[in-house]
């Protein structure tokens, strides 16, 4: 199975690995898992209170290369986006960007769920109506 260069790049040099202070009101945390492979993924966003834009995003993923690459890419895309824009990121965009093989599509689903989890957490923390729809996957 051949992996795309973009996927390998995100896997070998993942962007935005790390942790944000989850006790902060402006930070939303999403924690998701793919039990079949024993993967666990944490994705966090920090929202700029003045502009409502996501100013930082970090992740930590214990899992296969595709799961790491998917979450790395997701954090790259999240930065500079509004919450509404962030909600439009869906797993198939990740699949296309990284050219994920069919058996690895669930890794992108995981990343999308993590994004939604982080946004939901942020909205709940700040008393904003939750606009995240229940996972359609």
């Amino acid at each position: 199975m051949a992996y795309s260069d973009k996927l390998l790049e995100h896997f070998k040099h993942p962007k935005n690995v790390g942790t944000l202070d989850k006790s902060k009101k402006t930070v939303g945390t999403g924690l998701v898992g793919a039990p079949e492979c024993g993967d666990v993924m944490r994705l966090q966003i920090e929202v700029d209170e003045a502009t409502g834009m996501i100013k930082d995003a970090k992740f930590k993923t214990f899992g296969c290369g595709s799961a790491i690459a998917s979450s790395s890419l997701a954090t790259e895309w999240l930065k500079g986006k509004s919450i509404d824009e962030a909600l439009t990121i869906d797993n198939m965009t990740i699949v296309e960007e990284l050219a994920l093989p069919p058996v690895k599509i669930h890794c992108s689903v995981l990343a999308e769920d993590a994004i939604k989890g982080a946004i939901k957490d942020y909205q709940e923390k700040n008393g904003i109506t939750v606009t995240v729809e229940e996972s359609s996957h």
């Binding site: 924690l31 793919a34 039990p35 079949e36 492979c37 024993g38 666990v40 214990f62």
Partner: protein, 174 residues
């Protein structure tokens, strides 16, 4: 025909393994392709299929984890990949153990290694204990869906622990 029916055994998580083996040998003889070299082509094909099934079914049922997965799938208790969810508290614990494990990879410390190991073993025995009665009580009755749910959670959580264990074993030789 499911694998249990094939061996004439009841659908169980805890299995009479001696009976399984006995039936496997009986079938191996019964469906041995060598006894059918003079039979028609379609009969030969049928026998080949049955002997393959015999081997596949045995490999699945003889292994505790594979059997568990098979029963859960048979009963429709396991959601398709990506839809099986575990509680946040458990994921948090797994995140913590994995983080501790990663630190070990960068900077190995015997004490820290022992801590992760004991934490993992504690999780494993708590998990095993939590499911023992469900595994033993399950008798393929329609009203036992709650048991299946318990066993499914056990099966999924065990995937995490197994993975961590594999990673931990890398340090065992140090």
């Amino acid at each position: 025909m499911n694998y249990f029916e094939f061996f004439d055994l009841p659908v169980r998580f805890i299995l009479d393994e001696a009976a399984l083996k006995r039936q496997f040998y009986v079938n191996s003889k019964k469906y041995h392709p060598d006894f059918y070299t003079l039979a028609s082509e379609s009969k030969q094909a049928e026998i080949l299929e049955l002997s393959t099934l015999n081997n596949q079914a045995y490999q699945t049922l003889v292994d505790f984890d594979k059997r568990m997965k098979y029963v859960l799938e048979l009963k429709g208790a396991l959601a398709e990949e990506g839809k099986n969810k575990l509680p946040q508290a458990f994921l948090l614990e797994m995140m913590d153990i994995n983080e501790a494990l990663m630190e070990l990879e960068f900077d190995f410390e015997q004490e820290a290694y022992q801590r992760v190991l004991s934490s993992l073993e504690a999780q494993q025995s708590a998990l095993d204990a939590s499911v023992a009665s469900a595994l033993a009580t399950y008798e393929d009755l329609p009203e036992q869906t709650a048991l299946l749910d318990t066993i499914k959670n056990y099966y999924l959580k065990k995937r995490y622990l197994l993975r961590i264990k594999e990673n931990l074993n890398k340090f065992a030789s140090l």
